[in-house]
């Protein structure tokens, strides 16, 4: 069994077959759901950006507080001040979208640079970079963020800077591992023998052709991380402040009514968090299984 799968694995690695030929249906479902969520998030972000909302998110209607979903005029119901839930959920995306992209960019950029240095340049940098990644990994992320908040100010861009930097070690070790794997193949040696400039080898042959999918996967997982951090921090009261909606502070402010049995004001944003993070996780893992061939069932 093992030998057969090993051989077939090697063949498929070098075959010209496009990757979608032998894709698992489950992975396809994961990716499909993930892409749906990404589309919804990006679409809602753009809607929120141009204020194309069903209602004004700040419009208080004390006659219609905590309406259940499906109430006429309020598709997702209203919160504890009668504000339209759907509009607030859409606007809440503003709180994490751009900062999340910043965190992803930082993680991918510095992770790639360090990974290439450690993997391609080898020994000289390896120890130093290993020390750096271990150092970053020593801090619980939320504690580090609280430290930065205490030192500077509770600004989402500072927070996402920390989120990005603490994600650097993961990207670094993945890129490093990939390059060490690629080095066993002959094409890099051939490149060097042919006199291909190092820049072309690293940027084109290694990063573009072989690490592209890895970076995309890390980007989707990074977005899930960013959403989790933003919602956690605005739940803790360090992010976006009321009345500006963010999913985290919506859960928090709605929680006062939770104990009275009025679940909806905090449940709606909590479900939004749940489905969105689930989407990014499934997208990342599905892509990982499809593009990197890591189905391990």
């Amino acid at each position: 069994m093992k030998n057969y799968s090993q051989i077939s694995g090697e063949i498929s690695e070098f075959s010209e077959q496009p990757f979608w030929k032998n894709v698992d249906g489950v992975d396809l479902a994961y990716v499909g759901y993930g892409l749906l969520i990404v589309t919804l998030v990006v679409g809602s972000y753009i809607l929120g950006l141009f204020h194309l909302l069903p209602r004004d998110p700040q419009d208080i209607d004390l006659g219609l507080m905590m309406a259940p979903p499906g109430t006429t005029g309020h598709l997702f119901g209203t919160d504890f001040m009668g504000r339209d839930m759907l509009s607030r959920l859409i606007v809440g995306i503003q709180a994490y979208f751009l900062p999340g992209l910043l965190a992803i960019f930082i993680a991918l950029f510095f992770g790639t640079v360090l990974g290439v240095l450690a993997g391609y340049r080898g020994r000289k940098f390896d120890t130093g970079i290993l020390y750096f990644t271990n150092l970053v990994d020593s801090f619980p992320r939320l504690v580090l963020i609280l430290l930065v908040i205490a030192a500077f100010k509770p600004d989402i861009y500072y927070i996402m800077l920390v989120v990005g930097l603490t994600n650097v070690p993961v990207v670094t070790s993945l890129i490093k591992g990939k390059i060490q794997f690629l080095k066993q193949k002959n094409f890099i040696e051939a490149d060097i023998a042919l006199g291909v400039p190092t820049r072309t080898i690293i940027l084109k042959h290694i990063l573009w052709h072989n690490c592209r999918s890895l970076l995309i996967i890390q980007a989707t997982l990074g977005m899930a991380e960013a959403i989790l951090m933003e919602t956690s921090l605005s739940y803790l009261g360090f992010g976006v402040q009321e009345p500006t909606p963010s999913w985290g502070n919506m859960v928090q402010s709605g929680s006062n009514y939770f104990m009275q049995g009025k679940f909806w004001p905090s449940t709606a944003p909590a479900l939004a968090i749940l489905f969105t993070i689930l989407g990014f996780h499934l997208l990342g893992d599905g892509l990982n299984n499809i593009l990197e061939g890591k189905r391990n069932a």
Binding site: M1, K2, V26, Y131, N134, L135, D137, S138, F139, P140, R141, L142, V143, L144, L146, L147, V148, I149, A150, A151, F152, P154, A224, L228, T231, S232, Y235, L236, G237, F238, V251, Q252, S255, F258, M259, G261, S266, T267, A270, I273, L274, F275, I277, L278, H281, L282, D285, N296, A297
Partner: protein, 321 residues
């Protein structure tokens, strides 16, 4: 323990302790740099509303015996920490270290307890799907683990609190650590542990990692040999397929769980390090949050030290790397 096993462990332990020391030195430096780079120092709080010219500031610094250059500041702070002096909390006016250690114990209980819960859920699912592959039972379980991992932990906390206070009426409405009824006190303390264990967001990752490692070991030749000669497959696969992966993933997930503890302690009013860190961040109480960051890093490092020791115990060759 066999005597031949002691030497490699001593070797690894001394080396790892050195690395841990170096890393903690780096941690203290990072913490110091963050606060050093921050706008406004404790002196600007002291001098608030006064004419704070450069001369006045320098005078105050001089009077309080604070060294001028940053290297000297760092060294004196580091020296203080090594002798157990983490400074004095601005808000509470108490020495930081005893306060943080006092609540740190609660956090330790919470973290270790929730790690056990996480493993109790993850290990059976991982083992089942490693052995049986994807089937009617393991597929829904995997899906369930994904959903659980995406669940916001604070909301899960509310559901659990609501269920136990309102539906079952086991606890008084006013939430506070000491106000719980004596009879269900243990349950009241167990709930946050349970919530953090389920909702720390690592379950699906833990399952994936364990399943992959177990699957890899199951495909090894020595397992086939064991199976062929009728020996216990479980006994041969346990160390490499379960023990090592579990310690590895636990060590690498401690930071996440400590982070989750900040939120769970907030939801449940659990008097731990996370709540103290939250309060300190609100009050900009630097000394407290510095102490907590460093102690948290110590915890994380201890976790990976433990992992290395287990690894070498199982695989003594690794000590020669």
């Amino acid at each position: 323990m066999k005597s031949s096993a002691i030497r490699p462990i001593a070797l690894v332990l001394s080396r790892e302790l050195m690395i841990t020391g170096l890393l903690l030195l780096g941690v203290s430096f990072v913490v110091f740099i963050i606060l050093f780079a921050s706008p406004g120092d404790p002196f600007s709080v002291l001098l608030e509303g006064q004419l704070s010219t450069g001369e006045v500031r320098a005078g105050v610094r001089e009077a309080m015996g604070v060294p001028r250059s940053w290297t000297k500041q760092y060294l004196s702070w580091l020296g203080g920490m090594l002798t157990g002096n983490f400074g004095t909390s601005i808000r509470m006016g108490l020495p930081v270290l005893p306060e943080v250690l006092r609540v740190g114990l609660n956090t330790l209980i919470l973290t270790i307890g929730s790690l056990i819960i996480t493993l109790l859920i993850a290990v059976p699912i991982a083992l089942y799907s490693a052995v049986h592959g994807t089937d009617k039972i393991s597929w829904p379980l995997t899906m369930f683990s994904y959903v659980i991992s995406a669940l916001p932990v604070f909301w899960l906390g509310y559901i659990v609190i609501y269920f136990f206070t309102h539906k079952l009426g086991l606890f008084p409405l006013a939430f506070g650590f000491s106000s719980a009824g004596q009879k269900y006190r243990w349950l009241y303390q167990f709930l946050p542990i349970f919530v953090l264990g389920v909702g720390n967001g690592t379950i699906s990752e833990v399952i994936r990692f364990l399943r992959q490692e177990m699957g890899r070991v199951m495909a090894e030749d020595y397992i086939r040999t064991a199976r062929a000669k009728g020996a216990s497959v479980w006994r041969h696969s346990f160390k490499e397929g379960l023990l090592i992966p579990v310690t590895e993933i636990v060590a690498s997930k401690i930071p996440f769980i400590l982070g989750g503890a900040v939120i769970v302690e907030q939801v449940f009013n659990w008097p731990g390090m996370g709540r103290m860190a939250w309060q300190a961040a609100q009050d900009r109480d630097y000394p407290v949050i510095m102490g907590i960051a460093i102690l948290a890093a110590v915890l994380v490092r201890m976790g990976s030290l433990f992992q290395r020791v287990v690894y070498v115990l199982v695989n003594p060759r690794a000590s020669k790397e």
